[in-house]
Symmetry: C2
C-alpha cells in the first residue's frame, strides 16, 4: 500500500477525520479540502524533495567565508514549501492560515519526510512561530512570527550548550539588560546575550532573509550571578539580522556568529551548527539610550524566568514530529525493499519444487524470510504511523473539543508522547536495517537508498530528548502525574478496544493477549515504585518504556484491525490484518523479558562499580 | 578491561590455551611465544592501523585510469602486517610458518579489527592460500600459495555474480579448455574463463605484486551447455598477472578487468569490486600449443566439478573470522563510549542528592541508564568474544586432538558456526548503536569514532552468508545432520556447565534458567520439524537462530562465570559476573518470544499474499 492509501484509511476510516469538520474552527473544511492538502504536499514532495534526497546527503552544508552553502535543490524545495502555504496552514484565518486540523497537517508532512527528511526544517520554523503566537507580544507576532509563517524568515530553537547538553539547568548563556531604557523597546525588553549554543539545527543558511533564534538564557540576579537550575531560565528572540518594527531588515547584523558546522552520520541536508552569541565578531551599535554594550541583542519573550515553560509549550508537537519523521523514514525503506524484493530473482523455493536448478530463479519476495522482513517493516511502520496520527488527533481534541474531552486528550497526550517519540525511533530504525538486509549486498552500497534511510533515522533516538530522557519522563513523571489519571485514561481506552475485539472470533485471542499485557504493564508500574525510591524505580526505565511501547502499539494495531476487519475482502484488508497478527505473534510476547527487570527493580546495571566495566 | 586483559583471561584461565603446547604440532610453543604474538599484533595495530581508521573511511578507494588508489596508510599497514609473519603464522614450519595454534592467531587478529577493521584483507589472502595448500598441486602451492603467505601476492575469493548473488548454483562464468595441450600446463589444467564476478573484496589494488583470484566457474558439458546447479562448479586460479613456474611475473597481463568499485556504507578501507573475466580488454597470447583463445587464463584446482567442496573447506574459519570482526567492532564502540562516559559531565543523580542545581554535574557514567547501555555492550561483546575463541579452540581440536575428540570438535563446530557468524553481527551491531547513544549528539557526528563502527559492522549480517542463510543452515541442516548428533553434543556440553553451576549458590538460579532454555530450544526444534515440511519448519528460521544464539551465549557466559567466580575478588571478577548476570536477567528471557512462532510453525509471514504488502 502506498503512503497515501494508508493515510486515507487511517485518517478517514479509522480516525474519522471528517468528523472534525463539525467543529467550529474547521467548519469550512471537508474531505475535499483535506484531500487537496494531501495532494499538494504529495506532489511537491515528489517533484521537489524526492529527486534530491541523495544530493543533500552527498553535498553537505559547507562554509564559504561565513556563509553556509546548501545545494540549489534545498533552496528550490524550501521555496516550493513556503509557497504552498503549508507553513501557516494550521494557523487562524487572521494569521493568514487555513485553520487546517493538526491531524491533516501532520499526515501531509509525512510526504516530505518520506521524500527527503533532511531537506526541510519547516518544523522548527513552525514551532518557533507557534510559540511566539502564544507567548509573544502583538509586535513580536507581527514582526517575527508572521514573517516566519510567510516564509521570509526561518526559525531555530537554541537550547543546548556544549557544557550542558540535555541538562538545561546548567546553561550558562547570560542575558543582561541593554541600557537604561531596555524595557521600552517596542520589540520587547531588550537584553544583550553572551554564550555558546550547540546542536542548533538550521542555525545558519541563506534560505531566508533572516533567521529568528529563540534562545534560552539566564538573567543574572542582583549579585551578578546566574540563578542555578531551570528557574533562572528566560526566553529571548535573537534575530540573526536586526529588524525594525516594520519587519524590514535595518541593515545591521546582530552579534550571532557561526562557530562551526557539525558533520553528521546522516540527516545531512539540515545544517547543524554551533553558534556563538555576543563573541564580538559583529558588534551591534547602541539601539537605545546609553552606550553600546557587548552581546547579541535579544528581546525577552513572556516574563523573566519563565523561559522553559514557554519552550515546553511546543514540546509535544515537536516530539510527535520527530516520531513521524522516524515512521516515514521507516516506510521509505519498506517501500524500497518491497520494490526490490518484487523484482530481484534469486534462489529457488524450499522443498521438491526448488530442487531443479534448470528451473528459473524465483523473485526473492517468494522466500519466507524475505516476507518476514517485509511484514515486520509493514507492522512496525504502519502501526507507528497510526499511533502518530492518533496523537495528532488528540492535539486537535485538546484544542477544539468540549472541555472534559479536551482535558482527557491533554492528559492522554502527556502519557503517549514519550512513546510517540521513542517507539518509532527505535523500531522504524530496525525496519530500515531490515530494508538493507532484504537488499543483501546492494543494500550496503550507496547505489540504493536504504543505507541513507538507516543513517538518517539513527538521529531520532537522540534529538528532542534521548531514549533515556523519554523513559525517565514516562516512568518518572507521566504515569504518576495527577495521581495516575493519565495511565488510567489510557487503560480505559485500551479496555474499550479489547471489549470490542473480544466479540470477534478472529481477534478474541489477541484481545486476551492485550489484556494480559495491560495487566503486566500495570503491575510492573506498581512494582517499580513499590519502594518509592526513584533510583530503584527508574533503574530500568528504558526496558519499561520498550514494554509500554509494545503494549501501546499492540492496542493501536488491534483497534486498527477492528476497522480493517469490517472492510470488504481485498488485498489491503488482508495486509492490515496480517500486520496486526504479526505484531501480536512476533512482537507483543517480547514484553515479558523487559518487564521482568522492571518489576524486580533489578540493580545489576545501576550498582555496577565503575572500575568493573 | 582492555581487549588484551580480556583475551588473557579467556585464553589462559578459561580455555587453557597453554594445554595446546602439549600437542606435537605445538610443542615448541609456550605461553611466552603466544604472548609474543599477541604483543606484536597489538603493537602493529596500535601504530599502523588505529591512527588511520578514519582516513580509510574518508579516503575511499578510487580509480586512477585502471589502477585502484588506496591511502598510503593502507600500504604501510599491509607491509607491517606481512613483515610480522602473521600471514603464515599458523602454517607448517616447512611452509615458513610458525605452527601457531589457530586459537592464538584468531585472538591476535582481533587487535587489527579493533584498530581498523577495513584496512586489512589478510583473512582473504590467508583463506585463499590455505585452500591451495590443501587442494592445490605442489606447483600451485609453490607458485601461488607461498607467495601469498610471504606477502608478495594477495588473494581473493570470486564466488558471487550479478545475476546469482548467494545462489551459487546459478553462476554462469564459463571455463573452456585452453588449447589441445591444456592438461599439460605445469601450473595445472589450463582453461579460459569468461564471466562477471560481483562483490569481490580486494579485487584490485596495488598493495602487492600480483593478485591470485580463486574463481568458481562452470566447465561446459559435451553439448556446450553449462551443467545446472552446484554440481557443475569447478575452481580455478586466475592470476591478475601471468606468472611463470618460478613464481616470477612474465610481464603479460591476464584478462581480468576491473569493471567497477562498489561505494559502501562502511568498511570502506577494503576495495570491493566488480570484475570482468575474459571481456577482451587484456587479451592473453597463446600460452601453449594452438591459437590464442579469448578469456582469462585459469588453472584448475582439484578435480572438475568439485569446486564448491574445495571452497567450503575454508567456510568455517571465514565465518569465525567475520564473527570476530563483528565482536571487535563492538568492543571498539564499547571502549570509546566507556571512555566518553567516564569523562563527560552532565546532569545530576536521581533523588534528593540531585536536586541542588548549584552542585556540579556528575559524569554520565553515574547514571543508571548509561551504565545499562555500557553493561549491555560488555555483555554482548565479551560474551561473543568468548564464543569466537571457543570455536577457534575447536578448530585446533579438530586438527590436533585424538580422532574421537577431533570428530566431536568438527561436528560441534558445524552447529556453532552459524551462531558464531550471526550472533555478533546482530548484537555487537546493537552494541555499536548503544555506543552512539551513550555519546548523545556527539555520537551522531563524525568527530567521534562510534558512528563509523556502526556503519562498518552493518556489513557482517550480509557477507559470508546472510542472516537468513545462516538460519536456514542451522535449522535446515546443522541441527539435523548425522541424526542430530551435533545438537546432542552441544546439549551435552551445556548440561556439563549447568551441572557445575548448580552447585554454586550464586549461579544455581542461572543454571536452572539455562536448563529451561535448552529444553525450550530442543522442544522448538522438534516442533518445527514435526510435520517434516521444510517450508513450515524453516518459515521462522531466523527467530529460531536468534533464540538458539541467545541460549549459546548464556551457556558461554555461565561457563565463563564459573571460572571468573573462582578468581580472587577484584574489579575484573565483578565485571565478568555482572556481565553474565546481565545476560541472564535482561537477555535470556527474550527467547520465549522467538520460539513461540517457531514451535507453532507460525505461517503469518510465509503465507502473506504478495499483493497485500
Amino acid at each position: 500500500m502506498s503512503l497515501r492509501a494508508t493515510l486515507d484509511f487511517l485518517l478517514y476510516d479509522w480516525l474519522h477525520a471528517e468528523d472534525l469538520t463539525r467543529r467550529t474552527r474547521f467548519t469550512d473544511h471537508s474531505r475535499e479540502t483535506f484531500d487537496a492538502v494531501l495532494d499538494t504536499c504529495e506532489r511537491i514532495a515528489r517533484e521537489k524533495y524526492a529527486p534530491f534526497n541523495r544530493t543533500v546527503d552527498t553535498e553537505e552544508p559547507r562554509l564559504d567565508g561565513d556563509k553556509v552553502i546548501l545545494p540549489q535543490a534545498t533552496h528550490d524545495a524550501h521555496r516550493a514549501y513556503a509557497e504552498s502555504g503549508m507553513l501557516s496552514a494550521a494557523q487562524d484565518y487572521q494569521e493568514g492560515g487555513m485553520q487546517l486540523p493538526y491531524t491533516i497537517e501532520a499526515a501531509a508532512n509525512g510526504f516530505f519526510g518520506l521524500a527527503s527528511v533532511s531537506i526541510g526544517s519547516a518544523l522548527l520554523t513552525k514551532g518557533n512561530a507557534n510559540l511566539l503566537l502564544v507567548h509573544g507580544t502583538e509586535m513580536q507576532k507581527a514582526v517575527f512570527a508572521r514573517n516566519e509563517l510567510n516564509g521570509r524568515f526561518a526559525g531555530t530553537m537554541c537550547l543546548s550548550e556544549p557544557q550542558a547538553g540535555s541538562s538545561l539547568s546548567d546553561i550558562a548563556t547570560r542575558a543582561v539588560p541593554d541600557g537604561p531604557d531596555f524595557e521600552n523597546d517596542p520589540l520587547g525588553p531588550r537584553y544583550r546575550l553572551t554564550g555558546n549554543k550547540m546542536w542548533i539545527s538550521a542555525g545558519d543558511h541563506e534560505l531566508t532573509e533572516n533567521i529568528v533564534h529563540l534562545v534560552l538564557a539566564k538573567i543574572p540576579g542582583p549579585d551578578g550571578k546566574l540563578i542555578p537550575g531551570t528557574r533562572g531560565i528566560s526566553l529571548f528572540i535573537v534575530p540573526k539580522k536586526m529588524v525594525g518594527t516594520d519587519g524590514q531588515l535595518t541593515g545591521v547584523r546582530n552579534d550571532v556568529a557561526l562557530a562551526g558546522l557539525n558533520h553528521k552520520l546522516g540527516w545531512r541536508g539540515t545544517t547543524n551548527t554551533l553558534l556563538n552569541f555576543g563573541e564580538g565578531r559583529f558588534p551591534v551599535p547602541s539601539t537605545g539610550a546609553g552606550q553600546a554594550q557587548a552581546g547579541a541583542v535579544g528581546y525577552l519573550v513572556g516574563r523573566p524566568h519563565e523561559g522553559l515553560r514557554c519552550m515546553f509549550h511546543m514540546m509535544n508537537e515537536a516530539r510527535i514530529g520527530v516520531g513521524t519523521a522516524a515512521v516515514v523514514l521507516g516506510l521509505a525503506g519498506y517501500y524500497a525493499s518491497l520494490d526490490y524484493a518484487k523484482n530481484r530473482p534469486q534462489g529457488r523455493p524450499l522443498g521438491p519444487a526448488g530442487k531443479d536448478p534448470a528451473q528459473p530463479q524465483v523473485r526473492i519476495i517468494e522466500h519466507a524470510d524475505v516476507k518476514r522482513m517485509l511484514l515486520a517493516q509493514k507492522s512496525y511502520c504502519e502501526g507507528a504511523l497510526a499511533l502518530e496520527l492518533y496523537c495528532a488527533r488528540l492535539v486537535d481534541e485538546q484544542h477544539t473539543a468540549d472541555p472534559a474531552v479536551a482535558d482527557d486528550a491533554r492528559l492522554l497526550l502527556e502519557v503517549l508522547t514519550p512513546i510517540a517519540k521513542s517507539w518509532p525511533s527505535e523500531w522504524c530504525l530496525e525496519a530500515n536495517s531490515l530494508a538493507i538486509q532484504v537488499h543483501g549486498g546492494y543494500g550496503y552500497t550507496r547505489d540504493f537508498p536504504v543505507e541513507q534511510y538507516w543513517r538518517d533515522n539513527r538521529l531520532n533516538m537522540i534529538h528532542e530528548g534521548t531514549h533515556g530522557i523519554q523513559a525517565a519522563d514516562l516512568l518518572g513523571r507521566k504515569v504518576l502525574m495527577e495521581d495516575g489519571k493519565g495511565l488510567q485514561l489510557l487503560a480505559g481506552r485500551i479496555n474499550a478496544t479489547i471489549e470490542r475485539a473480544t466479540n470477534k472470533p478472529d481477534l478474541a485471542a489477541d484481545a486476551s493477549a492485550l489484556a494480559a499485557a495491560l495487566q503486566q504493564v500495570g503491575a510492573a508500574t506498581k512494582a517499580a515504585w513499590a519502594t518509592g525510591v526513584p533510583g530503584e524505580a527508574l533503574a530500568n526505565a528504558v526496558p519499561y518504556m520498550q514494554a509500554f511501547g509494545h503494549m501501546v502499539l499492540a492496542w493501536i494495531w488491534l483497534d486498527v484491525a477492528l476497522v480493517a476487519a469490517a472492510a470488504p475482502a481485498g488485498a489491503a484488508r488482508e495486509g492490515r490484518l496480517r500486520a496486526q497478527r504479526f505484531f501480536f505473534h512476533y512482537e507483543l510476547p517480547k514484553i515479558g523479558a523487559w518487564l521482568n527487570v522492571v518489576s524486580a527493580r533489578d540493580p545489576t546495571c545501576a550498582d555496577m562499580p565503575e572500575e568493573s566495566f
